[in-house]
Every structure is written in structure tokens, then in C-alpha cells.
């Protein structure tokens, strides 16, 4: 693509990004807003590709647009649509409405000021020569990191601690979701055509996940993209109305949920006990250790994302069964 | 740390530790509670006696503990602190005996005696405070420890009284705190030193020092019940009699008065305070309070309230003595700290006895009570005469020195009329009570007779404490010139303050 074409491409991309974001936020129809948001995610994935961030593009497509959208849509399922505006509920009060307008404009101006300040600051930041101390340090140490994809090296070696905590965030979210109650009932069984599609799609997704995991070491990809793809397989199954979607229950489920953080932590602490720093892989072992951590992380991510999509703990988990029995007889006031 | 450093801590701990243990005692464990109370009181008395001897022989008893850089908790025994510690200790012992009798079979005794001991610990700590910072800490602790005692009965009236008490004292405490912090920023750690420490500060600090003095005096004036900061005192009379007796005749109001003495003599230095022109204002405030309290007392039919207003008036004698420049005025003020305490506690004890034995709460119900309760009424009479200033009871000695001091300082023009007016007013509100009690015919029945007439007056535990304190009031007046008497000790204090 020549440079003029690139400029047109950039302009279109940026316009659609801003336009989609605007449109998604301008509507009060929840479902419309979510679909526009998903579209924004896909366009963003293209933008990441344009900015030479293929890892992010993959993740955005799978998680940002795909799973977040699916989660939001599932939540919007029970919502009345379009949502009635707040003001119709009560007789219109002119004074309050006036105040509301003032507040709207004040917030809008504030946000405009925010954007303006940020732009101003960024222009200053970009006017200086770019800092490449850190990228250089990463290339210098890449050989010792065990992988050749610099993004994976940062994620699972240089800044592995971030990733460990990030897995803990994911676990926390799912545990929080569990604590709030039951999984939503399955969707109605899909028609014959969709069913055929499912039979074909799910194995492809699983294979893709496996590839992404393996490829992460040297090419775009890795545990998160793979986990999200695996979760997508489950989502498809669920949408097809299957009740069994490959998730175990009870102890095994909890094992899978804990595996990502657990293996990560175990590797870190084992190295610590062997006299190395926490998560300080010996260069010779780094590749294998990272693959091991990523494999565990992939299963955890897939399971937790899927559970998040289900919006609660699947039935007949033993802890939850106890909950069902006991919830009725809770005597505390 | 050696004995000299431990002694001040032990003096405080001898009431603090028993108090803490008492909180955790079962309500029914009467014997253990009494034992702890009395053992603590007696132990404290022994410790204080040794301290008196030591301080007289210029021993230095001092304990220090750093709370933060530059902020030290200092307990230091000098002549002035020993005077107040001794007063508190002796009267604590007597009041404990009285309270044990008074609260027989009442609920919440563990709580009561626990806080009672904390109160005494705070008072003693305040007396021994070696700098203004330490003083402020114990001053606030005293507020905290007395609040539950005022609210003790739990009636809505008691809780309300306690709330008013708290509002006044915490507000005052805040002013005191601000003044102290300000002074600390200007002059560093303000240790109490005989003769004061601020005289050396440069002259451009003087306006600030005047502001600080005002803050400190107003803060202290709340507890010392200087008019118009006295409003809490009559309200706090809802407390049980032993509380009124010890705390509102001795611990709390004296803490304020003692603080004023400390600030004038040991922080500013009396000469420097005079040089800044601060003494006149203090003297006028004291004079107004003396007259105002006496006038108000005149109109109270409720006996405890009459005594409360009498306290408002009498405590300001101490402030008045402080405001009179010269050793003789100082002696008068300081010695009144002791004398007023002994006399006023007697009055509150006897008022409690009337209420407990016969249900008498008002002056108008006291007709002929002297025949039914002669010993109690005799104690009451001695103390009341002392308050008026009739020789040879203790009160006469203080008034004599105050008058003499005023003449010496050339302030007689306005101090003498105040003293005379106050004495006349004292007579006007006490003598009719005495007349009723001794010479009027009793009515057909007492308001609520709790103890049958067959018994001699009342319980021994209630009867003896006022008798003992009345005797003390008489003795301190009669033997004022004896060694280690309050007057002699006050003279020692005055000599050390003026560097004589």
C-alpha cells in the first residue's frame, strides 16, 4: 500500500473508531450500544494490526470484542429494550431538568478539557526523541528469556509478576461472580443448521487455541489469546443450548480455576527455594517453564472466562449444593 | 531506672492497676474489689509519704518516656505537685471508704470503681506532670475517666448532665491543646520550672504569648469553673455523692485551678506574667467568679446545687491568690487548694448522708436534722464555718493570707471588698442552713427514711469519712504552723517559686 493509500486507510480507520465509540455511547438502547461496541472492538483489532501490535490485535478480537461483547449481550438478555429514559418515570420537573442540563454540559466540558489536556501533554511527550532504553534492554535480554517473541518475553518473564497478579484478578472476578449466585439457564437448543455449524466450529476453535499457545513463544499469540479461543468454543456450545460444555464440576473445576495462578506461583516459589529469585527462570529452562505456565494459564483462562459468561457457578458443584440447601434456613437477621 | 525514677510511676500505677483489674471483676466479687481499692489507696499513701520526705530534702523524683520525638511524658515531683498529690491521695482513701458504703448493693459497681480509680490516677498524673504536654494528656484523661462517673446512674438526666460536662471540658481541652501546641512551637518543650521559662523569649513574641495565655487560662478555666465557663458544674451534680465529693470538690475543679497555678508560676513565671499585664485580668475573672458563685448559691434550695455554686466561688480563691503578686498571696492561693478540698468534701459527704439516710435533698427539708444526725451535722457545721472563714477552721487561714497578700501587693483596693463580700455571702447561704438544722423543729416525717431511727445516724462507712475530714479541716486550721502542715508546705512552695 502506498503512502497516500495508507493515509486514507488511517483516516477511515480513525473515523470509524471515533464514530463507533460516539454512536455506542449516544444511544440509550442497550443492545444497540453493545453491538456498536463489539464493532468498535473489531475495528480496534484492525488498528492494532496497523500499529504493528498483532498480539494485541488477536487478544482484542478474541476478548475485547468477542468475549466482552458476549458477556454484555448475555447480560442485556433480561433487560427491557430500549430502556425507557429516566425522565418518563416521574412527572417532568422543569427546575430539575434545567439542573440536569447544566450538569450534562458541565460534564461534557470537563471531558473536553480532559481530552484537550491529554492531547497537549501527548504532543509534548512526542516532541521529544522517543525513549528506547527499555526496548533495547529487552532485545539485549531476549535470548535469556526463553522465548523469541518479545511481547511474550515481557509478559511471562520480565514482567511475569504482573501476569501472575493479572491471573489473580481473573480468578477474583470469577469467585466474585460465583458468590452472587446461580448460573443462567442454558439457551434453547439450536436449530439443525447451527448444530451442524457447532460440530464443525468447536474443534477448529480448540485446534486454534492449541496453535496459539504453542506459537506464543516465537510469534504473535500466547496463553490469553489461546484461553479466550478455548472459551469461545465453550460459548458456542452454550449458545447451541448444550448443557455439557466441557467444564468439569466440583474439585476438578476448582483445580482448573486455580491452575493458572497455582502453577505460576509454584514455579516462582520453587525457584525461590532453589536459591534463585522469585520467577527467575534459569535461561536453559525458561522456554519450558514458560510453556508450562502458559498451558496451565490457558486452561484457567478458558475456564474462568467461560464461567464468567455463564454468570455463576454451574449447578451441582458441591459448595453450591450446600448453598442451596442452607440458604433457606439462614437464621441471621 | 532506680527508685527515684520509679516512684512517680508507682504513685500513678498504685491506683491505675487496681482500677484496671477491677473492671474485669465479677459484679458479685465484693470482697476482692474492696481489697484492691483499699490496698491501692493505702499503698499510694505510703508511697506519697516517702515522696513528701524526699521532696522536702530536695530529692529529684523524675520519670521520662518518649512518646514522639520532642514529646516526652514526664512525671516529676516538686513541692507543688506533692501538695496536690497528697491531697488527692488522702481524700481518695477517705472517699473510697465512703463509696463502698454508699454503693452497697447498687448495680455496676465494678464499672464505678474501675473508672473511679482511673480518675484518681489521672489526677495524680496531672499533679506530677513535669511539662505542659504531660499535663494536657492527663487533663484529657481526667475528662474521659469522669464522664462515665457522671453518667453512672443512667437516667436521662444523668446522661444529659454528662453530655454537658463533656461538651464543656472537651471544648476547654481543645483550647488548652491549641495553646500548648502554639507554645511548644514557639518555645520548645515547656517543662515546668520554678520561676517560669518564658521570660527569656524575645519581646516580639509577647503579643503571641498573651494570646496563648488567654487560650490556656480559658481552657483551664472550664474545669476550674471560672465564670462564664462554670455551666457544667451544677449539671454534673447528678452524679452519685462520692463522685460529686471527690471529683467536683477536689479532682476536676482542682485540676483546673492547679493548672492555672502551674501556667502562671512554672511556665510564664509570676513576674513575667505580671510584666505582660496578665495577672490583673486573671484576678478580675477570679473576683467576678467568687462573687457570682456566692450570689447564685444563695438562691439554690437543692443542697448539692448550693454546694456546687459554693465550689464555683471558692475554687476561684486559688486563681485569685495566683493573681496576687508576692509570696504571701501565693501562699494563700496554694493553701486554699488543700483547705477548700478538705472542707468541701466534708460538705458533699454530709449532703450524701442526708440523702441516703433521710432522703433529704433540699435545704428546706433540713429542719431539725441536727437532732436526728448530730455527728453528721456537726461535721457539716465545721466545714460550713470554715468556708465562711471563721477561725480556727482551715478556711480562715487561707482568707487571712489572701487579704494580707493583697495588701502587700497593693491590690487591697479591690481584693479586700471581694473577700469581705464573699465572706458575707458565704455566711448568708450557710448560716441559715445551720440554723435550720440545729434550731428548727423537725417536721412530722423525713422525706424518705431509708435507715430506721433506732440506728445511730447511718452506716459507719458513711459516717466516719465526713467526721474525719471535718477533724482534718479543724486540725489544719489549728495546727497551721506545725511542720508539714499545708500552710508550711505552701510557704515552702512560695519560697521556691520566688527564689527566696
Amino acid at each position: 500500500m502506498n503512502s497516500a493509500g495508507l493515509i486514507v486507510f488511517d483516516a477511515l480507520l480513525l473515523l470509524s473508531i471515533v464514530g463507533l465509540a460516539w454512536a455506542s455511547l449516544a444511544t440509550t438502547d442497550v443492545r444497540r450500544s453493545i453491538i456498536l461496541f463489539m464493532a468498535l472492538g473489531l475495528v480496534l483489532a484492525v488498528a492494532w494490526g496497523r500499529l504493528l501490535a498483532p498480539d494485541v490485535a488477536l487478544a482484542e478480537a478474541a476478548i475485547g470484542a468477542g468475549l466482552s461483547g458476549a458477556l454484555l449481550l448475555a447480560a442485556a438478555h433480561g433487560q427491557p429494550s430500549p430502556l425507557p429514559p429516566e425522565s418518563t418515570n416521574a412527572p417532568r420537573n422543569h427546575g430539575a431538568a434545567g439542573m440536569g442540563m447544566v450538569l450534562r454540559w458541565a460534564i461534557t466540558l470537563l471531558c473536553a478539557a480532559l481530552a484537550g489536556t491529554l492531547v497537549w501533554a501527548l504532543l509534548h511527550a512526542f516532541s521529544n526523541p522517543q525513549h528506547d532504553m527499555l526496548p533495547r534492554a529487552i532485545s539485549a535480554n531476549l535470548a535469556a528469556s526463553g522465548v523469541s517473541n518479545p511481547v511474550t518475553a515481557v509478559l511471562l518473564n520480565f514482567r511475569a509478576y504482573d501476569t501472575l497478579l493479572e491471573l489473580a484478578v481473573l480468578l477474583t472476578a470469577v469467585l466474585g461472580t460465583f458468590a452472587l449466585g446461580q448460573a443462567t439457564p442454558g439457551y434453547r437448543p439450536a436449530g439443525l443448521v447451527f448444530d451442524g455449524l457447532v460440530r464443525w466450529l468447536v474443534p477448529v476453535l480448540i485446534l486454534t487455541a492449541g496453535y496459539l499457545l504453542w506459537a506464543g513463544a516465537h510469534a504473535p499469540g500466547g496463553a490469553f489469546q489461546a484461553g479466550a479461543t478455548l472459551a469461545a468454543a465453550g460459548v458456542v456450545l452454550r449458545l447451541a443450548g448444550r448443557t455439557r460444555i466441557g467444564l468439569p464440576v466440583g474439585f476438578m473445576l476448582r483445580m482448573i480455576m486455580a491452575a493458572g495462578v497455582g502453577v505460576f506461583l509454584l514455579v516462582g516459589l520453587t525457584l525461590l527455594l532453589l536459591g534463585r529469585p522469585f520467577l527467575g527462570y534459569p535461561p536453559a529452562w525458561a522456554g519450558s517453564l514458560i510453556l508450562m505456565i502458559e498451558t496451565a494459564a490457558m486452561f484457567s483462562i478458558a475456564a474462568t472466562l467461560l464461567l464468567a459468561f455463564l454468570g455463576g457457578q454451574p449447578e451441582s458443584t458441591d459448595v453450591n449444593a450446600v448453598a442451596n440447601r442452607q440458604r433457606e434456613e439462614d437464621p441471621r437477621c | 531506672m532506680n527508685w527515684d525514677a520509679w516512684l512517680p510511676v508507682l504513685v500513678v500505677a498504685s491506683s491505675l492497676l487496681p482500677g484496671l483489674v477491677i473492671f474485669f471483676l465479677r459484679e458479685g466479687n465484693h470482697r476482692m474489689r474492696t481489697l484492691l481499692n483499699l490496698a491501692g489507696a493505702v499503698l499510694k499513701l505510703v508511697l506519697v509519704s516517702s515522696m513528701i520526705w524526699g521532696v522536702f530534702h530536695e530529692h529529684v523524683y523524675e520519670s521520662r518516656w518518649t512518646l514522639a520525638p520532642g514529646l516526652e511524658l514526664v512525671l516529676h515531683a516538686d513541692t507543688l505537685s506533692v501538695l496536690f498529690v497528697t491531697l488527692s491521695t488522702v481524700l481518695w482513701l477517705v472517699t473510697t471508704i465512703y463509696a463502698i458504703g454508699y454503693l452497697e448493693n447498687a448495680p455496676h459497681r465494678s464499672r464505678f470503681f474501675g473508672f473511679f480509680s482511673l480518675c484518681v490516677s489521672a489526677t495524680v498524673g496531672l499533679a506530677l506532670a513535669g511539662n505542659l504536654f504531660t499535663f494536657v494528656i492527663f487533663y484529657e484523661l481526667l475528662t474521659l475517666a469522669t464522664y462515665p462517673l457522671v453518667a453512672h446512674r443512667g437516667t436521662s438526666e444523668a446522661v444529659r448532665g454528662a453530655r454537658i460536662y463533656l461538651a464543656y471540658t472537651l471544648g476547654g481541652g481543645m483550647l488548652l491543646l491549641i495553646g500548648t501546641v502554639w507554645l511548644y512551637v514557639l518555645a520548645g518543650p515547656t517543662a515546668f520550672v520554678e520561676g517560669g521559662i518564658l521570660g527569656t523569649l524575645p519581646a516580639d513574641y509577647h503579643p503571641q504569648l498573651k494570646m496563648i495565655f488567654l487560650l490556656l487560662i480559658v481552657g483551664l478555666g472550664v474545669k476550674a469553673a471560672l465564670v462564664p465557663l462554670h455551666g457544667w458544674l451544677p449539671q454534673a451534680m447528678v452524679a452519685p455523692a462520692p463522685v460529686s465529693a471527690l471529683l467536683h470538690a477536689v479532682a476536676v475543679v482542682k485540676a483546673g485551678a492547679f493548672g492555672i497555678v502551674r501556667v502562671v508560676y512554672d511556665v510564664y513565671g509570676v513576674n513575667f506574667a505580671d510584666q505582660l499585664g496578665l495577672l490583673t485580668g486573671l484576678g478580675i475573672a477570679a473576683a467576678i467568679t467568687i462573687v457570682y458563685g456566692s450570689v447564685m448559691a444563695l438562691f439554690q434550695d437543692n443542697l448539692k446545687k448550693r454546694l456546687a455554686y459554693s465550689t464555683v466561688s471558692q475554687v476561684s480563691y486559688i486563681a485569685l491568690g495566683t493573681a496576687i503578686l508576692g509570696p504571701i498571696g501565693t501562699i494563700g492561693g496554694v493553701v486554699h487548694l488543700v483547705h477548700q478540698g478538705i472542707m468541701k468534701i466534708t460538705l458533699f459527704f454530709t449532703a450524701g448522708n442526708y440523702a441516703e439516710t433521710l432522703g433529704i435533698h433540699k435545704v428546706s427539708e433540713m429542719n431539725g436534722v441536727g437532732r436526728r444526725m448530730p455527728a453528721t451535722t456537726l461535721a457539716f457545721s465545721i466545714a460550713a464555718l470554715g468556708m465562711i472563714g471563721v477561725p480556727p477552721v482551715a478556711g480562715f487561714v487561707s482568707k487571712w493570707y489572701l487579704g494580707l497578700g493583697a495588701m502587700e501587693a497593693g491590690m487591697a483596693v479591690w481584693v479586700m471588698p471581694v473577700l469581705i463580700a464573699s465572706s458575707v455571702l458565704n455566711a448568708a447561704y450557710f448560716l441559715p442552713v445551720l440554723y435550720r438544722a440545729w434550731f428548727r423543729e423537725p417536721g412530722t416525717a423525713w422525706p424518705a427514711e431509708h435507715i430506721p431511727a433506732a440506728r445511730f445516724e447511718t452506716n459507719a462507712a458513711l459516717l466516719w469519712p465526713p467526721v474525719v475530714t471535718a477533724m482534718l479541716a479543724l486540725a489544719t486550721g489549728l495546727f497551721a504552723a506545725a511542720p508539714y502542715s499545708p500552710l508550711e508546705w505552701a510557704t515552702l512552695i512560695a519560697h521556691r517559686e520566688y527564689g527566696l
Binding site: 511527550a125 525513549h131 484478578v169 | 473492671f23
Partner: protein, 478 residues
């Protein structure tokens, strides 16, 4: 000793996994983890006190390339406070949650919360701080919603959305910093940051995110409902530690990393908002009808005091006076942590025993639970700032700083706030006196009542009387 920082993160995280995998042993696992983590915090304190600030390079990579944990005097003190408060609240929680399913839900999240607190306090990297903030926010929200009632869920949802807004603003600031300086390491940034069009907006973005999370007036609206409707042990930790973690970051950024970027005007703005928080929070606490709401508004007010220190610290020249004031700030924060945790646990006992926490109907309650009432009284002493609590020493330094720098208005605010605090505390304590017979046994159920009592005593007595080493520790900086 050198590994201690990472153990402080790894131990509670491992405990969370254990509690997740073995729900029936969750309580035991949590208590054991709690004890071990507390020991680790003690060891760290000892290490920092004897050897100075400790640094730990994760993965052995130098700071910048990798992430470095750092423990200096301030963070270590807060870590130890966190450990003690969480441990005490854990012991209480083991009686509070009685059903197996409640425990199975509670303990993993609880230990994840602890992990995030420790990770946040130790973090030396801006983006890592963002991750710990999110972990903290999510686990706190999940715990706050455990009440399950509508009010709790509603409050938790608002709490989450506000928290996310805050984190995103923070992250935007981080992005700006990376764009301008190409590094995320706090120590390096402290060296290279200079006042200008990059640092100012970045600080403003990060601070507004953090202020939202620390509920500084007028951004406090989400706090009272969330803290008042969560289960008692959770409320204790939310009020005592979670908001304080965000405050710690504000402090770190303003006084350490961005020290030469901030201007007096901005510090005065923080002070002004703090003053608003003190007055408004105290006033609302005074008007509250329920104990938990009172405690929650009191948190708003108490955080306000901490912000009053900013204009003073900026006005004081570096030297002993400034160190004294900084120590006062730390002392106030520590005292509030212990006192508020004790207060919430005590309220939880009252709520469980009596089925309500309406202040007007407390008369009998206070008499039935003397130890708990005493805990409330001790916590109250610390909240008002009366001696011998640590808060007294803290407020002393606040007042001294205000006098020293001639900024009288903060003094007025402090005094007014303290008097209002006294009014709301004694409004509660007034109910402790009445005619009901005193129970025979002062402490009724040890495991339930002791944690609250000990936490309150820590605030009201131990910190005040033995807190002098705090000032010494604070001088140890990274």
C-alpha cells in the same frame, strides 16, 4: 530476610488457592496463612529497621526491565498494620460466617484482598500498581457484595464502577508517563520527572483516579453505602485498609515520586478537600441513625485529616519539623486503621447479637456486651484524637505544623472536626449507661469480642504510648 517482600505477596496468594481448593479446611488455611503472613510482616519490619529499605528484583531483572518490590519505613509500617488488622478480622470472621458455603466463598476472596494490599504496598512500578489496584478493587467489591441484600449489591456495583473509573484514569496517567519518560519504575521516575506539560497532567490523572478510590470529599459518595452494607469483617478492612492503600499511593506520588513536580496551589487544593471531608463527614456521622453508617462517614472524615497534612508538608522546609509532621501523618493513618477496624468489628458483634445497629435503640445492647462497648469507647477515643491514642500524637503534629507554617485555618478545621467526632462518639456511648444489671462475665465470647478489643486498644493505647519508633522508621526511605 531479603526474600521477605515476595513472601508477603506469595503467602496470602497461596492461602487463597488452598482455601479455594479445600473449602472445608478454608478457615484453618486462612488462619495459618494469616499467622505466617503476620510473622513475615514482622520479619520485614525488623529487617527494614536494622538494614534500611529493602529492595527485591522479581525474576532477577533490574528495575525498569523487570519489576522491583521495595519496602521502606512507611510501607513496612502499613504492611504490619495490614497484617495485624486482617489477622484480627480473620479471627472474628471465623465466627461471623457460620455456614460452610459462606466460608467457602469468603476465604479465597479475603486472602486475595490481602494479597493485593501487600502487593500494592510493596510495588515499585507504576503499571504493576495499576494491576494491584484492580485486584484490590475487584476483591473488595466481591467481598462487599457478600451481604447479598439488595442494598449491598447496589452499593457494591457502584463501588466497582467508581473504582474502575478511577483505575482507568490512573492508567491513562501511567500511559502519559510512559510516553514522556519511557519507564515505569518509581525510583527512576523520582529522579527524572520534571515539572511540565507531561508530568502535571499525568499526576492530575493518576491523583484523580486515586482520590476517587480513597473517597476524598466530594468524591466520597460511594463509600458510606458500600462500607455500611458489607459484612462486618469486610467493612473493617475496607474502611481501615482499602481506602488507605489508595491514600498511600497518593502520598507516595506526591511526596516521593512527583515531589519536585507538585505546586503549593495543588497541595492547598488537597488540603481544602480534606477540610471539606473532615467537616462534612463528621457532620453526616453525627446525623447517622445506624452505627455502621456512622462509622463509614467517620472514615470519610478521618481520611480528610490525612489530606490536611499536604499543604503543611509542602510549606515546611525539609528538616526535623517536616519529619515530625510526616510522622504525625503516618501515626494518624495507623491509628485510624486499627481504630476503625476495631469499631467495625464491635458493630458487627452488636448487629449479630441484637439484629440491628440502630443507635437510638442501643441502650440494652451496650449493657449486655460490656467488652464490645468498651472496644467502641477505645476506638472512639482514637477517632476523636484524645490521649493516649496515637491519633493524639498525630493531631498534635498537625496542629504544630499549622501553627509553624502560619496556616491557621487548618487548625480551626482540625479542632472543629475533633469536637464533632466527640459528639458522634459520645452520642453512641451515652447509651452504655442504664439500669440493666451488669452481666457477670465481662468478655462473653472470647473469639468474637477479643479481636475488636485488641484492635481498639492498639489504636488507643499502644500506638499512643509506644509509638515513638514510628518516627525513626519513617526516616528509612527508598
Amino acid at each position: 530476610m531479603a526474600d521477605t517482600p515476595i513472601w508477603l505477596v506469595a503467602l496470602p496468594l497461596a492461602g487463597a488457592l488452598a482455601a479455594l481448593l479445600l473449602p472445608r479446611l478454608a478457615t484453618a488455611a486462612a488462619i495459618v496463612t494469616g499467622l505466617l503472613t503476620t510473622v513475615a510482616a514482622g520479619v520485614l519490619l525488623f529487617g527494614v529497621a536494622t538494614q534500611g529499605a529493602l529492595h527485591y528484583e522479581i525474576g532477577g531483572w533490574t528495575a525498569g526491565l523487570g519489576i522491583m518490590l521495595r519496602a521502606d519505613g512507611l510501607s513496612t509500617l502499613l504492611l504490619l498494620m495490614t497484617a495485624l488488622v486482617v489477622l484480627a478480622a480473620s479471627i472474628y470472621a471465623s465466627t461471623y460466617f457460620r455456614k460452610t458455603y459462606e466460608r467457602a466463598r469468603f476465604w479465597p476472596l479475603w486472602l486475595l484482598l490481602w494479597t493485593s494490599l501487600n502487593a500494592l504496598l510493596l510495588s515499585g512500578d507504576l503499571f504493576n500498581i495499576y494491576v494491584t489496584l484492580e485486584l484490590l478493587g475487584l476483591s473488595a467489591v466481591a467481598l462487599a457484595s457478600l451481604g447479598g441484600k439488595r442494598a449491598a449489591v447496589e452499593a457494591a456495583l457502584r463501588y466497582l464502577l467508581v473504582g474502575l473509573l478511577g483505575s482507568m484514569l490512573f492508567l491513562a496517567g501511567v500511559g502519559l508517563i510512559y510516553a514522556g519518560y519511557g519507564t515505569l519504575d518509581l525510583t527512576v521516575l523520582a529522579r527524572v520527572l520534571e515539572p511540565g506539560p507531561v508530568a502535571w497532567p499525568a499526576l492530575a490523572l493518576m491523583s484523580s483516579g486515586l482520590l476517587l478510590k480513597t473517597a476524598l470529599f466530594p468524591l466520597h459518595f460511594w463509600l458510606p453505602p458500600a462500607h455500611a452494607s458489607a459484612p462486618a469483617p469486610v467493612s473493617a478492612v475496607l474502611s481501615a485498609l482499602v481506602v488507605k492503600a489508595a491514600f498511600y499511593l497518593v502520598l507516595r506520588l506526591w511526596l516521593d515520586v512527583f515531589a519536585n513536580v507538585i505546586t503549593p496551589a495543588s497541595a492547598n487544593l488537597l488540603g481544602l478537600l480534606g477540610a471539606g471531608a473532615v467537616l462534612w463527614g463528621s457532620w453526616q456521622a453525627l446525623r447517622a441513625e445506624r452505627l455502621k453508617l456512622l462509622a463509614a462517614y467517620s472514615t470519610v472524615a478521618q481520611l480528610g485529616y490525612l489530606f490536611l497534612f499536604f499543604p503543611l508538608l509542602l510549606a515546611l522546609p525539609a528538616g526535623p519539623d517536616r519529619d515530625l509532621a510526616a510522622g504525625g501523618l503516618a501515626m494518624l493513618a495507623l491509628t485510624h486503621g486499627f481504630a476503625k477496624a476495631g469499631l467495625f468489628l464491635a458493630i458487627g458483634i452488636i448487629q449479630q447479637r441484637c439484629g440491628h445497629d440502630t443507635i437510638r435503640e442501643l441502650d440494652g445492647t451496650a449493657q449486655h456486651l460490656p467488652a464490645t462497648t468498651f472496644a467502641i469507647a477505645l476506638a472512639g477515643v482514637a477517632l476523636v484524637g484524645l490521649p493516649p491514642s496515637g491519633a493524639f500524637l498525630g493531631k498534635w503534629q498537625l496542629l504544630a505544623g499549622a501553627v509553624d507554617t502560619g496556616q491557621w485555618w487548618w487548625l480551626v478545621v482540625t479542632v472543629a472536626g475533633s469536637l464533632l467526632a466527640a459528639a458522634y462518639i459520645f452520642r453512641v456511648l451515652g447509651h452504655a449507661f442504664g439500669h440493666r444489671p451488669y452481666p457477670n462475665q465481662p468478655v462473653t465470647v472470647a473469639r468474637e469480642e477479643w479481636p475488636a478489643l485488641l484492635l481498639s486498644a492498639m489504636a488507643a493505647l499502644v500506638l499512643g504510648l509506644a509509638g515513638a519508633p514510628v518516627w525513626g522508621l519513617l526516616e528509612i526511605s527508598t
